[in-house]
């Protein structure tokens, strides 16, 4: 219980009010009498009386009022304290920020806007003591407000968030909902999306703002070089059921129109066009659909050329699986090297089964199952690895890498150096990690491909492709390619800032060497000391383009159905209100006594 609570301060405010009313009551009033003849003796006697007898006595009624006011204030503070002990309301809102949420509905609003409109009354009923946990999928990296906002502030910030161009799988949303499982009785989980989710827990309240939308979009875009040096470009188009007919596809290379093609698309189906073009030195290839529809993000698609080749040096034992995983990647040249004679222009050095006595001064170094210490990393015996799991799935090294269910076998227990980032582990044993050694990035891989089953899983070549991408700073292939929104894209060395111009013209600065684009378009990347290059980000998601969705509204009062308030909470509220009412009556009584000249002595005299 604290007197500094709002109710306590309010209650304490009644004390000076009551004292002021009492002083007002006791002030010297002008009273007319018929004659002073009889009062003169009284006044003379009072003047002649000693000061101790003339001193004002404390009115017992004001003392009683003050005591009652303090008791009621204490009661209110105590009840507030009890209320604080009671569970507070907690609202978790899992919001789908996928590209389809930007789709325009028949009523003109976007699904996102409709979602916010539906959520607004619910958020508006939150008080400062309530908790709001917004879970955005994918995450939103907006401007931080500095201080940690309360529920009301979070609700305002949520209104400023916009949907992304990222394709979000249904399972990702369901998993996010499961992680937001309510732990208290006064908790409500609302899932705001545009479609009905399969496997949604029963305690989650769905809010779907989808519905029919006429949309057509590019869902496939690729260019393949032919033997004669020309390219054939594939453009796939999909349409939602209301939209059908022919779509005109325009192909541009570095802004110059290369061709047009009509594509017939059935309602709810897809069509494709193959265009032949001599791309030559075209760096950016763009396809777009003529006309407007419900979703703008899928009307354009880009491919950008990656010009550099990657040189990798191999040191140590032979590993066919790993060599193959490197060799099959386009634009990668693998050369054998001795530990003490590394090529000078290598982007990547792979140490397999051996430990380098001296690490390169710069670049990326991959150390696979070292048998000795590497910098600050020291192996200390072998253990049987448990269940492997990826700790940092958003890290560019671990993009699209899955280790769940993969048999690892025996691995080395290692002492990790300072600054070591664990990317995957089995129990408490690090399997994959990374740290900086001088200007070099060292990637530790504790899993030996010749043991276990990792080399046979699809994530093995993906991981090594990521390693090559990171080593090359995101530009290793000479082919036209693109990334999807939300996918990590290496744009420069780790730890060095890279300036990027976004598709909307805004300047971004990436410090970790990895770009996580949320919007489709062309990103102009300017690594320090190198020429600028383009990174194409295209949606190319049939699921987002053809997301029909459905509508599901929240009940009128979701709290009533989701939570059951304990009786004590209601009683505490009623008692607090009664205490406040009592305090108000005490002050009013003091006011009435002031106004009517009521006094305990008068009351006693009237009774007599």
């Amino acid at each position: 219980m604290s007197w500094l609570s709002p109710w306590g301060l309010l209650g304490l405010l009644s004390v000076p009010v009551l004292v002021a009313l009492s002083l007002w009551r006791r002030r010297r009033r002008e009273v007319a009498v018929s004659s002073l003849l009889l009062w003169r003796q009284v006044a003379a006697a009072q003047r002649a009386a000693p000061p101790t007898q003339r001193r004002r006595r404390v009115d017992p009624l004001i003392a009683l009022r003050l005591a009652v006011a303090l008791v009621l204030t204490g009661a209110m503070c105590g009840l507030l304290w009890l209320r604080r002990g009671a569970p507070t309301r907690r609202l978790t809102v899992v919001v789908d920020r996928s590209a389809s949420m930007a789709m325009r509905r028949p009523d003109g609003r976007s699904r996102w806007q409709a979602c916010l409109d539906e959520l607004r009354p619910l958020l508006g009923r939150l008080g400062p003591r309530d908790q709001l946990v917004p879970v955005l999928v994918p995450a939103y990296r907006g401007a931080a407000s500095g201080a940690e906002p309360d529920a009301v502030g979070l609700a305002k910030e949520l209104g400023a968030v916009a949907p992304s161009d990222v394709a979000v799988r249904e399972q990702e949303l369901v998993e996010a909902v499961r992680q937001a499982a309510p732990t208290a009785t006064d908790a409500l989980v609302v899932v705001a999306t545009d479609d009905r989710l399969e496997g949604l827990p029963a305690w989650a309240r769905p809010l779907a703002t989808g519905g029919a939308a006429a949309n057509r979009g590019i869902v496939a875009f690729a260019a393949r070089r032919r033997r004669d040096g020309t390219h054939e470009v594939l453009v796939g188009v999909a349409a939602t059921p209301p939209a059908r007919g022919e779509v005109e596809v325009v192909l541009r290379g570095d802004g110059r129109e290369l061709g047009r093609r009509q594509v017939a698309v059935a309602a709810g189906g897809r069509g494709q066009a193959v265009l032949e073009a001599a791309l030559g030195d075209v760096d950016v290839l763009e396809a777009h659909l003529v006309g407007d529809d419900a979703l703008a993000a899928d009307n354009h698609a880009w491919l950008a050329r990656r010009t550099r080749r990657v040189r990798a040096a191999w040191v140590g034992d032979a590993s066919p699986a790993l060599r193959r995983a490197l060799a099959v990647q386009e634009g990668v040249d693998v050369v054998e090297a001795a530990a003490d004679a590394l090529p000078a222009d290598c982007d990547l050095v792979v140490y397999y089964g051996t430990a380098p006595t001296r690490l390169p001064a710069r670049g990326t170094v991959a150390v696979v199952a070292p048998r000795g210490p590497v910098g600050g990393l020291r192996p200390a015996g072998q253990v049987e690895a448990g269940v492997a799991m990826v700790v940092a799935p958003r890290d560019p090294l671990m993009a699209a890498v899955r280790l769940e269910g993969v048999r690892i076998g025996r691995v080395a227990r290692v002492t990790v150096p300072e600054g070591f980032d664990t990317l995957a582990r089995a129990g408490d044993v690090p399997l994959i990690g990374r740290w900086r050694q001088g200007r070099a990035t060292v990637v530790y891989v504790g899993i030996e491909p010749s043991r276990g089953g990792w080399a046979l899983s699809a994530s093995f070549p993906i991981f090594w492709a990521n390693v090559v991408d990171v080593a090359a700073g995101g530009g290793r292939r000479g082919e036209l390619a693109c990334v999807r929104p939300g996918e990590p894209c290496g744009v420069g060395p780790v730890g060095e800032p890279v300036e990027i111009d976004g598709p909307d013209g805004r300047r971004l600065e990436v410090a970790g060497g990895v770009l996580l684009p949320q919007r489709v378009g062309l990103y102009r990347v300017r690594p320090k000391g190198t020429a600028a290059r383009a990174v194409a980000v295209s949606l190319l998601s049939e699921a987002e383009t053809t997301a029909q969705g459905c509508e599901a509204r929240l009940p009128r009062d979701p709290w009533e159905q989701a939570t059951r308030r304990p009786l004590a909470t209601g009683l505490v509220r009623v008692s607090g209100a009664l205490a406040a009412l009592g305090l108000l009556l005490v002050v009013l009584h003091g006011w009435r006594a002031r106004a009517a000249g009521f006094d305990l002595r008068e009351a006693r005299a009237s009774v007599e």
């Binding site: 006791r26 009033r29 009273v31 018929s34 009062w39 009284v42 002595r601 008068e602």
Partner: protein, 302 residues
């Protein structure tokens, strides 16, 4: 005693008809040897007249032989004369204090005083006497005409009704004015709160020496008899506008009550000493109780 008038008095606002009928059963009691100038209904002390038998006395030479009682002579052989008493009408004056202090109280003292004065004057009219009412405020006294006969009660009420409290209290000046005006001995009822800082007793002594039959009705309001505790106040005299600051608490009220008691007892002792009837009443007392109780108990009526 004469019965009620067949027409009945018009109901003045000061007295209602039902109460007037009750009043007609009462009679004013005179204490001093007041003598009326004209013949009335009251048996006087002066001998004379022809109708009211008083006594026998032995014949003396020179007496009027018309009053010899020959029947007594036949039985006793001695000559006796019959004596008769003269019926006379006495002047009854009611002097009402209409100073500002009489406007205090709940109900106002002046309202009660006017009604008492009207009732007492009506009693005089019913008893066949003459009645005159005066209202004084400051040194000014306004007198009504002399009323005689029951119908004059309406004129009496018309005189009293517009009287409103104003000015200071100067009982001595009012009594002095009465003395100069009164040509005969009469009954004077002074209705006042007696809150006069001057010398009201001096005026009464003056009138007592002129053999007037005097009565004082001391009228106080409940707020004066039992003032409420009001805490620190500045009391202002409504007549003089003088002020006095004091704390009206329990001790002050005890002191006040003692002073009030001494004041009233002083008046009572003075009146007894000078053969003046002294009555005390509260303005909050029911009017009928005041007339039928206080006046009767004080020996002013029967």
């Amino acid at each position: 005693m004469p019965g009620p008038s067949p027409r009945g008095p018009r109901s003045p606002s000061l007295l209602d008809p039902a109460f007037l009928h009750k009043l007609e059963l009462l009679e004013i009691l005179f204490r001093r040897n007041v003598v009326g100038r004209r013949e009335g209904d009251r048996p006087g002390r002066q001998r004379g007249g022809r109708t009211e038998f008083a006594d026998y006395r032995e014949y003396s030479p020179g007496d009027d032989l018309h009053y010899l009682d020959w029947n007594v002579y036949g039985r006793t052989g001695r000559l006796f004369l019959k004596e008769f008493t003269k019926r006379e009408a006495v002047l009854v004056c009611v002097l009402v204090d209409a100073s500002a202090s009489m406007g205090f109280g709940q109900p106002r003292k002046l309202d009660q005083a006017k009604r008492l004065a009207a009732a007492f004057a009506y009693l005089a009219l019913v008893g066949g006497h003459e009645a005159q009412v005066g209202a004084f405020a400051g040194q000014q006294v306004r007198w009504s005409a002399r009323f005689a006969g029951r119908p004059d009660v309406q004129a009496l009420a018309r005189f009293l009704e517009p009287v409103e409290p104003s000015g200071g209290t100067d009982v001595f000046a009012a009594l002095r004015a009465f003395r100069e005006r009164a040509a005969e001995r009469s009954l004077l009822l002074l209705v006042s709160d007696l809150l006069d800082g001057g010398a009201p007793q001096r005026g009464l002594r003056l009138l007592g020496s002129r053999r007037h039959d005097l009565a004082v009705l001391h009228l106080l309001s409940p707020q004066e008899l039992h003032p409420p505790a009001a805490g620190p106040v500045r009391l202002t005299d409504c007549e003089t506008a003088l002020g006095e600051s004091l704390v009206v608490d329990d001790a002050a009220l005890r002191h006040y009550a003692a002073g009030l008691n001494a004041f009233c007892e002083g008046w009572r002792a003075f009146c007894e000493r000078h053969d003046i009837r002294y009555l005390q009443a509260s303005s909050a007392s029911p009017f009928e109780d005041c007339v039928l109780g206080t006046l009767r108990k004080g020996g002013l009526v029967r």
